[in-house]
């Protein structure tokens, strides 16, 4: 039953990634298409543009949310692939807990930097 909930969460995070990463991709990488709609995204990877976005709470919130759902979705997916190799029960637990620790560590570091920029 617990595995079903985790799998359901995997699907929900997949949909959330499609939305949040879609916003990120369009804003940062589809500049010539956005130009058609009159949105100027020139130099969106420049330091000034990046700092300007980082100092806006809505962008910081979007990136932190994206990081959380992407980490869960990616690590749960990778765990599933590795568990297909049918490790022992103990091996499976080690893999699961390793991914939990990696995920929490990556989320902590990935959240610290945008929050640091937001407050500076």
């Amino acid at each position: 039953m617990r595995a079903t909930r985790f799998h359901l969460l995997h699907m929900i995070t997949g949909v959330l990634i499609a939305v949040l990463l879609g916003i990120h991709m369009v804003r940062l990488h589809l500049d010539s298409i956005l130009d058609w709609f009159g949105v100027d995204t020139t130099g969106s990877t420049s330091w000034e543009s990046m700092i300007a976005r980082a100092s806006e709470g809505i962008w910081a919130a979007l990136y932190i949310a994206l990081l959380a759902v992407a980490l869960y979705h990616a690590l749960y997916g990778l765990r599933g692939i590795i568990l297909e190799l049918t490790p022992s029960a103990k091996g499976g637990r080690i893999i699961t807990w390793s991914f939990i620790i990696i995920g929490i560590g990556a989320f902590g570091w990935g959240t610290y930097v945008p929050l640091h920029l937001l407050s500076s």
């Binding site: 699907m11 997949g14 949909v15 990634i17 499609a18 990463l21 879609g22 991709m25 940062l28 990488h29 589809l30 500049d31 010539s32 298409i33 995204t41 130099g43 969106s44 990877t45 420049s46 330091w47 990046m50 990081l67 992407a70 990616a74 997916g77 990778l78 692939i81 297909e84 190799l85 990556a106 570091w109 990935g110 930097v113 640091h116 920029l117």
Partner: protein, 144 residues
């Protein structure tokens, strides 16, 4: 113990055996997923460590990433995202039982999974192809 029919083992990660289109979509879903994970790790490193070290390091990294080899890689990541997202939505759609048709008694000639038309899968591939071409046009036009 009899060997399981259609059991492909780890070899099934690269070869679909008797299975049809969906199996190859599954393989591509896995490959694009692993590729996106690899890119995500690199992206997280650049947007945290490099950003934290200040403007000159950031601009130097962005300058390096703007060369054609990285631009091609960037396009592949964007195309992989489009495929992975749309195929993932198709899988969710089917997991909840939509688009599978009503159950029917097995009357000859059988309508089984190997011979049925795959309208949803083909429609999804068409959308992926169109979006991939749109992205390609944008990248050729010179996005960042």
């Amino acid at each position: 113990m009899q060997p399981r029919q259609n059991y492909l083992g780890a070899g099934g990660w690269v070869w679909a055996g008797k299975y049809k289109l969906e199996r190859y979509l599954y393989l591509l879903h896995r490959i694009t997923g692993l590729g996106l994970l690899l890119f995500g790790v690199i992206h997280l490193i650049i947007t945290t460590f490099y950003r934290y070290r200040g403007e000159s390091v950031w601009e130097s990294a962005m300058s390096t990433l703007s060369n054609p080899a990285f631009r091609v890689g960037e396009y592949l990541v964007a195309a992989a995202f489009v495929f992975h997202a749309l195929n993932g939505l198709r899988l969710i759609w089917q997991e909840f039982g939509f688009g599978l048709g009503r159950p029917a008694p097995p009357i000859y000639p059988y309508k089984d999974a190997l011979r049925k038309k795959r309208r949803w899968a083909i429609a999804m591939i068409a959308v992926v192809a169109v979006l991939a071409l749109v992205l390609l046009g944008d990248f050729i036009a010179g996005g960042p």
